[in-house]
């Protein structure tokens, strides 16, 4: 049962570690970070998007997210694969919460792992921008006296 001492070292590079998911449960930053952790990584960048208590000063009671789940997962995976390729990532995790998200809780968590910090910083930011621009998820802001479907600025009228 003893493993050869070199058994954890691989000469062929491991397939990149890609995790994308959506859930109705609270998100965990620790869990996202663990998913991308690797002895080959020198940097993990973690981004947590949390729900704000106002929109331009108007109090928000809570936010509710809905998704075209099949397509949203496909788009998230495609973004993750592009980011791995472009920034030579070792791992990437994108998880988005659905349903009602109380104020101050995480609605999206992105974790990226790369050999060096520069690539990890860049990939973390770019992943978030791509997710906001194209993943098929919609946010309903509930004000108490009405609600509004929010639109991310450049998600509108794109051709691809």
């Amino acid at each position: 049962m003893a493993l050869a001492p070199e058994s954890h070292v691989s000469l062929v590079s491991d397939p990149p570690n890609i995790h994308v998911s959506m859930t109705r449960s609270p998100l965990s930053m620790q869990e996202s970070a663990s998913k991308v952790k690797s002895p080959k990584a020198g940097a993990i960048v973690l981004f947590a998007g949390t729900t704000r208590d106002n929109f331009d000063g108007k109090p928000v009671k809570h936010l509710e997210y809905s998704a075209y789940e099949g397509l949203a997962l496909k788009t998230m995976r495609s973004i993750a694969e592009q980011m791995v390729e472009k920034h030579s990532l070792i791992g990437i995790s994108i998880v988005h919460r659905l349903g009602v998200v109380p104020i101050g809780e995480e609605s999206v968590i992105i974790a990226v792992a790369a050999p060096h910090r520069q690539a990890a910083w860049r990939a973390g930011e770019e992943t978030l921008e791509e997710v906001k621009a194209s993943v098929e998820i919609w946010k309903l802001e509930e004000f108490g006296d009405g609600s509004v479907w929010r639109a991310n600025a450049d998600g509108c009228n794109k051709t691809e």
Binding site: L71, K74, K132, E136, W138, W149, N152
Partner: protein, 89 residues
């Protein structure tokens, strides 16, 4: 959401503002139908939807985006969706 529609029909899904406007999450429409005729079909059922909703939306057929000006045929069993401007994050 992925239940197969009966023969002669396709499924159309509505999200966010499109769901509010139609008061439906999905329905069955008659197939086959040219994508560029879909707007007319929806406008007849939901007066004003073209200008108020569809003008800012994209369209997918079987999880792929399609150009609404091109001659794409929607076939029976297809899953079509109206995609309003997204707002994740």
């Amino acid at each position: 959401m992925s239940l197969k529609p009966p023969p002669g029909f396709f499924t159309i899904l509505y999200f966010a503002g499109a769901k509010d406007y139609t008061h439906k999450e999905k329905e069955l429409l008659e197939a086959p139908l040219e994508v560029n005729k879909l707007l007319d079909v929806l406008e007849k059922k939901y007066n004003g939807i073209g200008e108020k909703i569809l003008s800012s939306c994209l369209l997918t057929v079987n999880l792929g985006y399609v150009d609404t000006t091109e001659e794409t045929l929607i076939r029976e069993g297809d899953e079509v969706a109206i995609i309003p401007p997204v707002s994740s994050g």
